[in-house]
Amino acid sequence: MLVNRKLILAHFWLAFALFGVALTLGAWQMFIRSPIGTWLSNPELYYRSLTAHGTVMGYVFPTLVAMGFGYAISESALEQRLVGVRWAWSGFWLIVIGSVMAVIPIALGRASVLYTFYPPLIGNLFYYLGVVLVVVGSWIWVALMSINLRLWRKAHPGAPVPLAMFANVAGSYLWAWTAVGAALELLLQIIPVAAGLKNTIDAGLGRIFFSWTLHAIVYFWLMPTYIAYYTIVPRAIGGRVYSDTMARISFILFLVVAMPIGMHHTFADPQVGAGFKFIHSAFTALVALPTLLTVFTICASVEIAARLRGGRGLFGWIRALPWDNPMMLALAFSFVMLGFGGAGGLINMSYQLDASIHNTQWITGHFHLIFGGAIVIMYFAIAYDLWPHLTGRELIDVRLIRSQLWLWFIGMIVTTFPWHWVGILGMPRRMAYFDFGDPAIAPQALSVIFSAIGGFILLTSGILFLVILARGMRAPQADAGAYRFALAVHQPTTVPVALNTHALWVALMIALTITNYGYPILNLATSGGTSVPAVYVGAQ
């Protein structure tokens, strides 16, 4: 029952339009610092573009997708009209205003601080206020998801919450809490300095606050993808979810252990004690668990579909899968990229192994493979799956959709594999220019060229994606029926209260945040002499 289609479409269109702009900037960046581009001679333009690319891809695009998809889930899984539609629109407009407010100073070169802020660099106040508005807009969505679920529970006392909505609300709670870290950094530290009330800043404390947000935000980006794995893919390929309980446990585990692990981003930071780094490293290892559970459950669900289609044998069933179905293709590509990206992630979280790749191009390769690859390809799949239900028109270009997914997969592999490789060779990240004429890095030139070509393959795929969606708006009308989610082999009739509510797991998430972040933050906040003079971007 999708009633507020305009609301959902608005979120998706804004998300994908901004994605198109940021993708173009990304491809340009790959090109301009590769040996095939002529050096601009102005690093400032590069960092300007990098800030815009990161801000859109990190904060705006995935948040809008999660919000739009969240509203769609709330209406179709709960089969009740969305409550608070006006609030939802106001959240959307806050994000629009925030994005414009942030992008203008970036375009003027007044906020080239990258999306991770990097104090003591201080950009224009309006950049930070814009980011704050985007986050506030998304918090409205968090509240609406919680309220809608509460109303449904009242009407259905004791009934199992549909898996899609259970996961969706878990994702929204994770986001609400993880955004607090960056919010504290912005409100207590950066904004007072950007507004001219203070002129020194504790950069070390700022990095700890940001690490609170920086890792769990990835799991917030991941949530729509995992929801699609469990609740869309099995239905789309004609199978069933192998275990509803396993799915709930995975989402609960994400809620608990995605949060208290961010300090693996600060292994090289001297202001954090080694003991806390170790705890965060150990908890990061745990976060592989829900992903492994998911891979197992989804493979089992896919096998069910294959056997229903007549697949036989130990591995023979793989051939019986509907490989011409875009959803099957997207899932397979996503899993391959998740596999490689996840393996790289295990290296990043290991204290000693991290030392060899810390701050190199390996890291950029890693998060592009996981986020741009495994996650975003499922965003495409979600859009393709929802589009006929939102527009009331059929997506007829199935071949084009398949080509788009293939191109994205190939482009992402061609971009990120050489990226990882030059990282191992020691090429640093966040550099606007490399002198490939220098014998020491000349051998890496070829890898960087491949990477840049991959960037253009991705751009082509991104344009195709937008074209397919735009053509879908003008296709002949067709009734797609009600939007449905996958059923489990054993549909739950009763679910233990712990697996049907979030309270216990949210409490554990907050408790672990306090144990793992409380002391380091308190220690830095109370020790004197840790602030440094701010460096104002563009001040003269």
Binding site: G196, G273, A498
Partner: protein, 271 residues
């Protein structure tokens, strides 16, 4: 079962969830705060508490390590977008009067005849910072320090605004313009050297960095050498010392000669 029944140890999910989480936390904490600190043979701890504090990141002062006293003052100048905004005509006039005493080295119209920096049209922020540093002792010079030591904050601001107000004129002995050397336009990324032009003009200008076009070749070379040798230390975060140390003597020559040969009218206007 209601939510109230959820938070009791009678609930299996609660006891297992909390139990496993607490167990993992305790095991990792013992490993991180006790076992691993003692596994480092090169560090000696006086007690378990000492090891725990160290692993927790408490700043430690042990008897065996003496913290060296900071022998040299560091620059304490902070510039914001508002520090030097919109000087009045009176302020510039006061600066002009004060500048009479600078003229012997820096020239009556801010163009030096004596290998001192040309100040005509230099960014106000630059003069402001250097005068503050000379006054505080963060930068020392036998000639400049005595001049700066008695200046008030207002006088420093007036002088900065006056020199920034003067038109940029060609150097006293203009030389033919040289092409841009690599160090200026590309830097040397492998040695961590950003292009000179990224901060000092030619490509971009960063706060507190002077434009260098038409400045004295000998002066710029001397400053780079002073940074490399650690004799000059008023660069915040050591950025110039790190760069100058990594530069080859040829690069120092090339950068100084290039900037000295440029006419100052190519400097990008920033107001």
């Amino acid at each position: 079962m209601s939510t109230r029944d959820l938070f009791t140890f009678h609930n299996r999910h609660f006891s297992i969830g909390v139990g496993i989480t607490a167990a993992i936390l305790i095991v990792t904490a013992i490993a991180g705060f006790v076992v691993l600190p003692f596994a480092q043979p090169w560090v000696r701890f006086s007690s378990i508490w000492d090891a725990i504090c160290s692993a927790a990141g408490v700043a430690q002062r042990t008897a065996s390590v003496t913290v060296p006293e900071q022998a040299n003052r560091l620059s304490e100048v902070v510039l914001t977008s508002h520090t030097l905004s919109r000087p009045s005509q009176e302020a510039i006039g006061r600066g002009a009067t004060l500048a009479q005493r600078c003229a012997i080295c820096h020239g009556p119209i801010g163009i030096s005849r004596a290998d001192s920096p040309n100040l005509a049209g230099q960014y106000a922020a630059v003069i402001y910072k250097e005068l503050h540093d000379f006054r505080s002792g963060a930068r020392t010079n036998a000639v400049m320090s005595p001049f700066a030591v008695n200046l008030t904050d207002d006088e420093i601001a007036d002088l900065s605004n006056y020199y920034a107000y003067l038109p940029r004129l060609p150097a006293y002995h203009p030389t033919p313009q040289l092409p841009k050397p690599n160090i200026v336009i590309y830097g040397a990324p492998l040695r961590g050297i950003a292009p000179c032009g990224a901060c000092h003009g030619s490509l971009d200008n960063k706060t507190g960095s002077p434009w260098l076009e038409g400045q004295s070749d000998a002066y710029m070379k001397a400053q780079l050498q002073a940074f490399a040798a650690g004799e000059r230390r008023n660069d915040i975060s050591q950025q110039m010392r790190n760069i100058a140390r990594a530069m080859t003597p040829q690069e120092i020559e090339a950068a100084a000669a290039y900037y000295a040969s440029q006419p100052p009218d190519v400097v990008k206007a920033v107001d």
